[in-house]
């Protein structure tokens, strides 16, 4: 399998007034297509910062990020937005569906950004909703859905445009443990059956157990990598 993600010597320093906070102090790793990669570590270890940089939501202080052969760190802002639309799916801790849109419309949104023609859009949205098991709720607005259902819709939205990589920052932290397990199960299944590449952060030991590899972080550095061909 080829590398879908290549992170080299990534650093990120925040300056708060005169104090410089090093959130990432030189992180390097790779992920292959079809991986299910967990990022673990104590609070403040830099998990969110790392995922934000990989997702092109923020720019690194130094280092390189290559996604599916494209150098993300070199792109101008608008190009980065386009790359996110094409190659990256996001799942958030707080679900972040657009409240005025139905489940169907939320999932459709990335396809509209990608200017996918109408007929194809419909079949892809319906397929994505079916894959996450929420097809019967497609006309509902987020406020009419439970947290677990919202996160399923969010996962459908993340994978509908066929991204190279889905990033998820603590996707189960806002769910009760049973629902969290169901969501993990869903992600795992999409990974094994559909080959969707997941890179996600978590505090949840149960997710780490099902992960192919676990990247353990501490103080903005990779402490160790556990799992298959680490």
């Amino acid at each position: 399998m080829k590398d879908i993600l290549d992170v080299r010597e990534l650093t990120k320093t925040y300056t708060l007034g005169k104090v410089a906070v090093t959130a990432l102090g030189g992180v390097s790793f790779r992920a292959k297509a079809g991986e299910f990669l967990a990022i673990a570590g104590p609070s403040g270890s830099g998990k969110t910062t790392l995922l934000n940089l990989i997702g092109g939501l923020d720019v690194p202080s130094s280092g390189e990020i290559e996604i599916d052969g494209e150098r993300l760190d070199r792109l101008a802002e608008a190009r980065r937005a386009d790359l996110r639309a094409r190659k990256i799916g996001f799942v958030f801790q707080t679900f972040n569906l657009i409240p005025v849109l139905t489940a169907y419309e939320n999932v459709e949104y990335p396809l509209l950004l990608g200017k996918v023609p109408k007929g194809e859009r419909r079949s892809r949205v319906e397929a994505a909703l079916a894959q996450v098991g929420i097809a019967d709720r497609s006309r509902h607005r987020p406020a009419e859905l439970s947290g677990g259902q919202q996160q399923r819709v969010a996962i459908a939205r993340a994978l509908v445009s066929g991204p190279a990589l889905v990033l998820a920052d603590e996707p189960t932290a806002n769910l009760d443990s049973r629902t969290a397990l169901e969501v993990i199960d869903l992600m795992r299944r999409l990974n094994s059956e559909r080959g969707v590449t997941f890179v996600f952060s978590t505090h949840d030991a149960r997710i780490m157990n099902v992960a192919g590899r676990v990247l353990r972080m501490e103080d903005g550095r990779v402490q160790n990598v556990l799992g298959a061909n680490a």
Binding site: G55, A78, D82, L83, N96, I98, V100, Y109, P110, L113
Partner: protein, 408 residues
């Protein structure tokens, strides 16, 4: 429906109470512009029509040179072929009345009291169209059956101490420079509402005036009244062609050239209207900007989300601008509806107005529904909505994505 428009509409109706308040502010702004503009247009048209009907007519014809030099040597610039011109002018579509004018001045005496006057000789049968300006308060209007009967302004009648049926003597200079006198009777007393006019003016049948001035058959000017002011341009062009073809030594003036006061009133009120529209728009801009700013603050995380999904910053700007435009269109339509309803209601009742300056009679004002004013109110609503969305939309687009995503 495009996703952008769908988002704009749904977000607008998301916070119904706030949207209701914003739309109410916009409707208030647009309808005040429509109402004030409609009122101002009523004043314009009233002043225009009263000036035309009572003084200048729609079109006037003069001998060439009269307007420049006629005041010094009026007798050199008389129109001798009035009857021929009248017949031709009457043949033009939309022409209702063709009225000869012969201004003169001199002294009027009761025997005991003498004062100066300014007078006009009119065609008794053709003056109806122009007479709405003066209102008979005693006696009757001029009549060809009573060639020696004259009518006076109320102020002049009081000053002379005369009433209907009293005898007067008019003294004036003839065409050749001699002095001539004419014995007349007071047939009627009228009031125009303009004091200066009522105090100094009298009217007499034109044939008697021609006899007094010893210039049989000659008039100074010819006034045309049309069926409607809108047809002035049409009739002017036909007259111009006629004058050219026949080689008449005449020049044409329309009410627009002659109604100076109308233009002054129009300029003044237009300026007031524009200042008012500007103030109203400014208030509306502040109102919408406030709504937009609040709504963007509340939606910070959503903005972060759509940017994370790959919406460009320019896309965020257009999203909020579109919301402003939709708000502007809704507010403009609502304002137009409210404005039209209030205008109709107010016009139905009528606004009693005090006498305008220089006049003694009040009048009932209405609010006209003028398409140009409606369009202006709508345009201003839209511009105000777009202007007031610009800055909030730009701010939204500058949000830091990761911070916006953390926003609760």
């Amino acid at each position: 429906m495009g996703i952008q428009l769908k988002l704009a509409l749904r977000n607008i109706f998301r916070n119904r109470r706030r949207t209701a308040i914003t739309l109410a502010a916009m409707a208030f702004g647009a309808s005040s512009i429509i109402l004030f503009g409609g009122f101002v247009n009523f004043i314009f048209i009233s002043v225009r029509e009263s000036t035309i009907r009572s003084q200048v007519g729609h079109i006037q014809l003069y001998r060439k040179g009269f307007l420049d030099k006629g005041s010094v040597a009026p007798n050199d610039y008389m129109i001798a072929n009035f009857d021929e011109i009248r017949a031709l002018a009457k043949g033009i579509e939309h022409v209702k009345d063709v009225i000869p004018r012969l201004g003169f001045s001199g002294l009027v005496s009761t025997g005991e009291t003498t004062t100066s006057f300014v007078g006009s000789g009119g065609n008794p049968e053709g003056e109806e169209g122009l007479s709405s300006f003066t209102r008979i308060v005693e006696g009757k209007a001029l009549s060809s059956s009573d060639p020696r009967g004259v009518t006076l302004g109320l102020g002049m009648a009081r000053g002379l101490g005369v009433k209907e049926g009293d005898s007067l003597t008019l003294l004036a200079t003839t065409k050749d420079g001699g002095i001539n006198a004419l014995a007349v009777k007071v047939r009627g007393i009228w009031e125009s509402g303009e004091k200066a006019y009522d105090d100094r003016f009298l009217k007499a049948p034109i044939r008697e005036v021609q006899r007094l001035l010893d210039n049989e058959g000659e008039v100074q000017s010819i006034v045309l009244l049309l069926d409607s002011t809108e047809n002035t341009g049409f009739v002017r062009d036909r007259l111009a062609a006629l004058i050219r073809d026949r080689g008449f030594d005449l020049e044409i003036k329309t009410w627009e050239d002659l109604a100076l006061r109308y233009h002054q009133v129009r300029d003044l009120f237009s300026n007031i209207f524009n200042v008012m529209a500007l103030i109203v728009s400014f208030i509306v801009v502040l109102g919408i900007a406030n709504t937009m700013t609040m709504s963007i603050f509340e939606r910070t995380r959503e903005i972060g989300t759509v940017m994370a999904l790959g919406t460009r910053r320019s896309g965020v700007i257009s999203m909020f601008l579109l919301e402003g435009i939709v708000l502007g269109v809704l507010g403009g339509i609502l304002g137009a509806v409210v404005g039209i309803v209030i205008a109709k209601a107010v016009s139905f009742v009528g606004i009693p107005m005090p006498p305008p300056p220089g006049s003694t009679q009040g009048f009932i004002a209405k609010i006209l529904i003028v398409p140009a004013v409606l369009a202006k109110a709508f345009r201003l609503s839209l511009i105000a909505a777009i202007l007031s969305s610009l800055y909030p939309a730009w701010r939204a687009s500058r949000l830091n994505i990761t911070e916006a995503l953390r926003h609760v």
